[in-house]
């Protein structure tokens, strides 16, 4: 008797499980058809890093402050500022092979220059190819505009900065020309 109830119970439960499984035959597949269908990504998604330019004027946003270089836990960023002109970037190396996409550098950047893009397809044949230089990192104006909108970042305000900027360059511009050798003394004055 015990065996009988056990058998009936067991059969019932096996068929209940099988029925649950068979219910799934007719439904659509749940796996994403990745290469054909690009997955939906979110503004916060952290993938390949890139440098933005000002979406309106096209000038590079990096001011070579090296904040990103200092906070990076994996020391994968190298910022080389322009020695001629303070506050402009000469070269920028980012080793994506070391990067763990933590996003800390994007948070400390004062100008929203370095950002995480939604591009995750970045396989290369050699490790050296993963070291991006400034040309590969910098986005075009269109792309920058897209990311500034997508991530709802405050747009860089060029006008209040720019108006004093030409004044400074105008006053400073004549100086280096006559006294290019006396650069050290110039900075102090």
């Amino acid at each position: 008797m015990n065996l009988l109830t056990k058998t009936i119970d067991g059969c019932y439960n096996i068929f209940r499980g099988l029925f649950t499984v068979f219910k799934h035959i007719a439904r659509n597949p749940i796996t994403s058809a990745y290469p054909d269908v690009v997955p939906e990504l979110y503004p916060q998604t952290r993938h390949r890093l890139a440098l933005t330019v000002n979406p309106d004027t096209g000038e590079h946003l990096c001011i070579a402050c090296k904040q990103c270089e200092r906070i990076c836990p994996d020391t994968c960023i190298t910022v080389i500022g322009d020695p001629e002109k303070k506050g402009t970037i000469k070269d920028f190396y980012l080793d994506h092979g070391l990067c763990m996409f933590c996003g800390l550098c994007t948070e400390v950047c004062p100008t929203n220059c370095i950002i995480n893009t939604v591009d995750f397809e970045m396989s290369e044949y050699t490790r050296e190819d993963l070291i991006y230089d400034i040309d590969r990192l910098t986005l075009t104006q269109e792309q920058s505009r897209f990311y500034f909108d997508f991530k709802e970042m405050p747009k860089p305000r060029p006008k209040p900065e720019k108006k004093p900027a030409p004044v400074q360059t105008q006053t400073e511009a004549p100086k280096p020309q006559p006294a290019a050798s006396a650069r050290g003394g110039e900075k102090k004055s």
């Binding site: 439960n13 209940r16 649950t20 979110y42 952290r46 990076c72 948070e107």
Partner: protein, 407 residues
């Protein structure tokens, strides 16, 4: 006559040598890289010696060479299936030393995300457990389907699927996205509950599953306590210790939830405990979303004036922030000198961080108390005397994850 007697006792009749077999480290069902040196007598395991350390990454040492802020990006890797719990423990320890008051809203967001992470971890465990028991045909796909949904929820919040780096010193990285709370609540209350029923319909009463799990790997509560086993494995043995109730941290004391326990202590009981915990956790997330100070993110600005003004405001203005004032720029954080231990209930048990700060921006010493390490120590006692086929079932039922063991 004597021959017949001896056949009854096969061990005596056919004198067998003990055989030593290495299981792992590259074994698909060792949940990482664990090596078990099994001493077998025929089919029966006579002795078992776990060898750990293959996944050691020096998480403690890495922390002592990085600033507090830099290290917070790494702690998700301690137990990569429950990254939120890891961050929560570490950040709680830092906050204890620095004396930072976390806004109430941030605490609720932390609880919501950590509990969603618990569901992810249990779902992965469930799929893998079934796979280890031999349910090769499709069962993991059911749990991975739902895990995928929650992973995309958490990706929307934090930016990545597993290495969240979301819980920050003083709060969380960003407020919840607009419309997120409603979406999560709807999914948990309408769909996820049915999905758990589906798992149970397939597995819980299946006679093959019962034979594989009932009475297998009995964990003695006394032994479990002595070895420091925590989490659902301990609660399945009848000892109801859950840090969320036992020593409430964060805002768990303001939430109502049950801790599923069982007194049986075998593999099946551990399975039951975790399945019940899935249901409880789903309810807990819904409750936390309901109680979230300030409500949904899209209504927050609307509610803010109403909730914080008036004679008896429901909340203070700083309660509704997602990160404490002046803490969202992570440069130059310093704390200490001081010493703190913070523990959270991770999906696997009690996860603790002991932190010593010396006043610089770099931690002086970090020690992780990981639940999986203690839970692995019980393994030889559980599988002694069981056939080889049960080794994987018992090991799997403890929900040990190797990066957490080796750190």
């Amino acid at each position: 006559m004597s021959i017949v007697k001896d056949i009854g006792h096969t061990e005596k009749a056919f004198k067998t040598d003990e055989m030593i077999i290495n299981m792992g480290p590259q074994h698909p069902s060792t949940h990482g890289v664990l090596r078990l040196i099994l001493t077998l007598n025929g089919e029966i395991v006579k002795n078992c010696e776990p060898v750990i350390g293959y996944l050691h990454r020096g998480m403690e040492w890495l922390g002592q060479n990085r600033t507090y802020v830099q290290y917070q990006a790494l702690v998700d890797r301690v137990d990569y299936l429950a990254g939120m719990s890891d961050s929560h423990a570490y950040i709680m320890a830092v906050e204890k030393i620095a004396g930072i008051q976390v806004p109430l809203r941030a605490e609720y967001i932390r609880v919501i995300c950590t509990e969603l992470n618990r569901i992810i971890s249990h779902l992965l465990w469930l799929g893998i457990f079934m796979l280890d028991l031999g349910a090769m045909f499709g069962f993991p796909f059911y749990t991975f389907r739902d895990r995928e949904t929650i992973l995309s929820f958490l990706e929307e919040v934090s930016g990545q699927r597993m290495m969240f780096n979301y819980i920050r010193i003083g709060g969380v990285f960003k407020d919840l996205p607009k419309g997120w709370t409603k979406k999560v609540k709807k999914w948990l209350t309408t769909e996820f509950v049915n999905y758990i029923d589906e798992y149970e319909a397939i597995a819980t009463k299946n006679p093959i599953f019962l034979v594989r799990t009932q009475g297998i790997g009995y964990l003695d509560p006394k032994l479990a306590l002595n070895r420091g086993v925590t989490g659902p494995s301990l609660r399945a043995s009848g000892i109801n210790i859950d840090l969320r109730k036992y020593k409430p941290y964060s805002v768990y004391d303001k939430l109502n939830f049950n801790i599923p326990t069982s007194t049986v202590g075998d593999t099946n009981a551990r399975y039951q405990c975790r399945i019940q915990e899935l249901r409880e956790t789903a309810k807990l997330v819904v409750e936390a979303i309901d109680k979230l100070p300030g409500g949904d993110t899209e209504d927050l600005e609307k509610n803010r004036a109403e909730l914080t003004s008036g004679e008896n405001p429901t909340y203070k203005a700083e309660d509704l922030m997602f990160i404490a004032k002046g803490k969202n720029v992570p440069m130059g954080f310093k704390c200490g000198p001081g010493e703190a231990y913070a523990a959270v209930e991770s999906p696997r048990g009690q996860l603790g961080v002991h932190l010593i700060a010396d006043g610089t921006s770099v931690p002086y010493r970090i020690k992780w108390r990981s639940p999986s390490y203690n839970n692995t120590s019980i393994l030889p006692d559980l599988i002694k005397g069981h056939p080889v086929s049960d080794v994987v079932a018992i090991f799997s039922s403890l929900d040990v994850i190797l990066p957490d063991v080796d750190r």
